[in-house]
């Protein structure tokens, strides 16, 4: 029912257009229905009585009716297109805004891939259904009812033919559609299967050849091919039945009208013109019914899409964005106070009772194996997620008191995955600070050791960046992400495993430059490898969401068993042979 709810809600703004569509379609349909009746009068009053003048004048009327028909039909299409596409636009806007409201936790539950599909493909489906409904489905019932009324006007005695022909056609088409739908779905699955096998063959080509598994793969493929072909043949066989069956029903109806109508004409109960008119109406009704059934095939798919869209729009966000504080903190002391975070429904929290303070002018490193909760800490600082218990404070002010803009000015995040946006180097660097001058950008690039490869190219700061930054190497991207954070000139820097793709030379130069330019800032470094963090003022060792040690490298290497285990595991990895 999500489909109905969504369409009603989002079509509401277009009520005027929709009413216009209905009126115009009504007019167009009435005009179309009027034609056979006029034609009947040409036969009865013109032809049969030999009145050529009447034929001419009725012909002119018919032309006029035609003209009305085409004008109203096109106008209806116009408003239909506006409405359908408008609903699509509004849905996309609503989803985009909704996603903007959700916390990263809630976004993560959906996954960005499905959010993208839902805001593109799914909306497209719903929007096409709305369009088709307005273009065709509105006129179908009008055509049916109008056709029946007109047919009855011509002759009530033959009306039973309508009651027989319409259900017969409906049932036959519905049965075929009913048989086809599951086969279609199966065929789609099998198409996915066979494409999946091929995709694996292409992605795994080296492995397949190395193991000489071509025959095995060929068998696997042949199975998929056979299954798909079998279903396709079945679908095709039903499909080729459809058209002849429908045509046969239409012809039977025609014959019946002639036969039974003939009797009524002979008995003087009906005029011959009415007979032809009745025939045309019956055919018009049947065609409308057929169209209606085919249109209904679109509904199941759109229903699924609508449900997926509704799921996003119905999601309730737990995160509220405040107005913000009047004055931004100046020092940038970061404190975790009794912070506990767990995923809803999970038995064990990811972080439990975390307490630490990072002072301005110092570097705090966080280390621990995967799953220890390092990324969660990173996400908590810029308030991408909220803790269940406890607070994160900047100079004593909880992060939940700042609005997003303010937090962005305070915190410079360098993410683990170096993601850049399509645009230019300059637009990417100005991501967090629109007002940065070119000199400031170059300065940030110099510190991040990225000035060399940026200045190498002709376009300098204006050189293009592809979506995700894929036209730069991993190391270049990482340095650009660092420069992006530096451009913000924040009080707090958060580096999430951000030096992994750098070589030693660059790494050491970068660190030297960084420590100079972040001298007064609070620096948080999350790392997997001991080598990256040895010089930190404070190292926090994380295990299973709890702090199990803190101190300098020397202190911890001396006394902390978990830290030692990490150090040793990284050594054994090399020493194992």
């Amino acid at each position: 029912m999500a489909l109905l709810r969504l369409s009603l809600k989002y079509a509401k703004d277009y009520w005027l257009f929709i009413i216009l569509v209905v009126i115009l379609q009504l007019a167009a349909t009435i005009a179309a229905l009027y034609l056979p009746s006029l034609n009947a009068r040409i036969i009865d009053e013109g032809v049969a009585k030999g009145d050529t003048d009447f034929i001419w004048s009725t012909g002119m009327t018919m032309l006029l009716v035609c003209f009305v028909q085409v004008v109203t039909a096109i106008a209806a299409i116009y408003f239909g297109a506006r409405t359908g596409m408008g609903v699509g636009r509004d849905l996309r806007r609503a989803i985009y805004r909704q996603v903007d409201e959700l916390s990263m936790l809630e976004v993560g539950k959906f996954g960005s891939a499905t959010l993208i599909t839902r805001n593109t493909n799914d909306v497209q489906q719903v929007q096409m259904l709305v369009l088709m409904t307005l273009n065709f489905m509105v006129s179908t019932p009008i055509m049916c009812i109008g056709g029946i009324i007109m047919a009855l006007r011509e002759d009530v005695g033959l009306s039973w033919l309508v009651w027989v022909a319409v259900p017969v056609l409906f049932v036959v088409v519905a049965i075929l559609v009913y048989l086809l739908m599951p086969l279609f779905r199966r065929m789609q699955d099998q198409v996915d299967d066979i494409n999946g096998v091929l995709r694996e063959q292409i992605t795994g080509i080296r492995v397949i050849r190395a193991f000489v598994r071509e025959p095995f793969e060929t068998d696997r493929y042949a199975d998929a091919n056979r299954a798909l072909t079998e279903t396709s043949v079945k679908v095709g066989n039903l499909f080729v039945l459809m058209f002849p069956a429908i045509m046969m029903i239409l012809h039977l109806a025609t014959a019946a009208v002639l036969w039974f109508g003939g009797h009524r004409v002979d008995a003087g109960q009906m005029e011959v013109g009415s007979l032809t008119a009745f025939l045309q109406y019956l055919l018009q009704i049947l065609v409308a019914v057929m169209m209606g059934v085919f249109m209904m095939m679109m509904i199941p798919r759109a229903v699924v899409c609508a449900e997926r869209i509704a799921e996003i729009l119905d999601a309730r966000t737990t995160m509220t964005i405040p107005e913000g504080v009047d004055e931004l903190p100046r020092r940038g002391e970061l404190e975790f106070r009794n912070v506990t975070f767990g995923y809803p429904g999970a038995e064990v929290p990811v972080l439990e009772g975390l307490n630490f303070t990072a002072e301005p002018g110092t570097t705090t490193a966080i280390i621990g194996s995967t799953g220890a909760g390092k990324s969660t800490i990173v996400n908590l600082i810029p308030r991408l997620i909220d803790p269940q218990i406890g607070e994160i404070l900047i100079d004593g002010i909880p992060v939940s008191a700042f609005n997003r803009h303010q937090l962005a000015r305070l915190i410079g995040l360098v993410p683990q995955k170096p993601y850049l946006f399509s645009g230019t180097i300059a637009t990417n660097l100005r991501f967090g600070n629109e007002d940065a001058t070119d000199e400031e950008l170059w300065e940030a690039l110099r510190v991040a050791q990225a000035d060399d490869f940026v200045s190498e190219k002709e376009d300098q700061l204006e050189q293009g960046v592809a979506q995700g930054g894929t036209n730069y190497s991993g190391g270049q991207r990482q340095r650009l992400c660092i420069a992006r954070a530096l451009t913000v000139k924040p009080q707090i820097y958060v580096f999430d495993d951000s030096f992994s793709a750098l070589d030693v030379a660059t790494d050491s130069r970068l660190r030297a430059a960084l420590s100079e330019s972040t001298e007064e800032a609070t620096v948080i470094v999350v790392a997997q490898r001991v080598s990256t963090i040895r010089e930190a003022d404070q190292i926090i060792v994380l295990e299973a969401g709890k702090i199990v040690g803190r101190g300098t490298h020397e202190e911890l290497a001396e006394s902390n068993p978990t830290y030692r285990a990490i150090v040793e595991s990284q050594l054994t990895a090399e020493e194992v042979n």
Binding site: R82, G86, D100, L258, N379, A408, Q570, T572
Partner: protein
Amino acid sequence: MTNDTSTENAVSTDDEYMPSGEELEMSGGTPPRKAKHFWPSVKRLFGLMASEKMGLINVVALVVGSVVLTVIAPKVLGKAMDVVYSGIIGAQLPAGANIDDIISGARAEGRDDFADMLATADVVPGEGIDFTALGQIIIIVLLMYLVASMLMWAQGYILNALVMRVVYRLREDIERKINRLPLRYFDTRQRGDVMSRVTNDVDNIQQALQQAFSQLVQSALTIIGIGVMMFIVSWQLALLALIALPLSAIIAGIIGTRSQKLFKAQWKHTGEVNGHVEESFSGLDIVRAFGRDEVMLEEFDRRNESLYAASAGAQFVSGMIMPSMQFVSYLSYVLIAVAGGLKVATGQMTLGDATAFIQYSREFSQPISEMAGVANMLQSGVASAERTFELLDADEEDPDEVEQTLPPRTPGKVTFSEVSFRYDPQTPLIEKVSFTADPGHTVAIVGPTGAGKTTLVNLVMRFYEITGGRIILDGIDVRELSRADLRSHVGMVLQDAWLFEGTIAENIRYGRLDATDEEVIAAAQATMVDRFVRQLPDGYDTVIDADGGSVSAGERQLITIARAFLADPSLLILDEATSSVDTRTEVLVQQAMAALRTDRTSFVIAHRLSTIRDAHTILVMEDGAIVEHGSHDELLAAGGAYHRLYMSQFRGEDAEEHFTTEVLAETDADAVDIADTESPTNT
């Protein structure tokens, strides 16, 4: 620089943004592609069906029969109308009177039209409708339609099976072709492009063959048939009806071109909106952390609004086609009704013929508009066929020239003598490489990215064929072996841990298909897989899916090692992973690889010092040549390239002097880490 310029930049790049094919796919359609060589491709497409000639002849014959019957039926049905009409007129006339008397009577009264009409109608005065005749005609017509429908169904049935056979074979050919194409084909092309040739394009061909073919024949025949019938019934009315033809062509032309242009705009804007959605949703954490929400939102609204304008326009214009065509058909209906009415009233035509004609004119417009659709489908089908044929025509690997075979187990002595390899004659990738790997020895290959390390091991596998020199395995030139024989003696563990969608057990068994469950588990135990598999709820039946949610990257790597272990090859090629897997799994991977190397000649593309140190031979490669080889200690003592490489990892300052490429630095990042972590224990 100020705010304004930066937004300007954003705009200018937006305009450059080209939606990729996949994005367009997602938006529900791609702009129709045009075939480069239309007719040759059409010819070849039909060539695919050459073996189905008999079937095709049957199909055409059945279509002809069906169309002929369908086309004649309205004319016969018109006779039924005449019977009814004559009956009515007849009933109005005095019974027993002579029809000629009545006609001359009518003329005498000056009712010439009526007289003319009576003269043409087959009227018996005083008699009503002749139901025997009417019944006969109706039954004949119904029989004609019944037979036509059955013929139509039969041709559809035959054609369907036929097309599916052809498509089945085409798919089969493609899969075989994939197995025969040299690796180079895949290396030099975008994966997505190859994928779409073997999937979407084949679907497209199927659709074109299935629908376009029969509809084309049917529509063309129907148009001809109806045209002929219309001229038979009344040539004047036929000419009138033909006016509709150019009229609909003009309308279709004008609106069609216009709507195609608008659709292109719609696709472009769809791509832009989708691109923006993709980008802002994938990088959402960054967008938020940098307080960029509002700017992104504004940009989205701007693009969304343009998409709305473009698509509303496109949908409107394309939606106009149907009512316009209908208008033309109504128009000709009116003209025919009036003209026909006049002719019947003046006795130049019977009423039955007039109704038959009206039906013809209605059926005339349908195949014409169908033809337009078929033309589109055919065009895209032929373009797809062309792309598929390109794949099928690509050069294959040279066939094996088998002169020798290897025993199931071979010692594994590998000799490269003066081996050279180049893709294109100008750029050498491997130049005159010579070395020997003794049985059971480990050969480590080091050097910057692009030095040819991967190429070198690919030559051992004969993934690429060498262009000079010889590679000798236990005294046999590898070119004298069949590829399958050679490769089944070599195990390979690659960086990208490729697994197929199946259970863990199936994936390990991939190494040796006839292995028992016990052997699979034994291999898993030897390679540290067993431990984590037992922790999974489904154990060895855990399904590895495409995104590999159930197992981590390191665990995938372990499974590929188990797979190679089970294969028990004489020779081994290991490409060490550079991606940072978590430290504990990494230890396991190292141990598993060590287990695998035992007693086998191994080539290791090394990223870690540990492997390098233990190797019997280290090959240092630069620019496709081996610049040094020897053991770790020898090479260090020699103080050459290896020494520099080794030292650079301790003292970063030197690194760039010798290996200036950016990429190199990144691949060696892991080794760098090792160097760093090791130093505390050294001191």
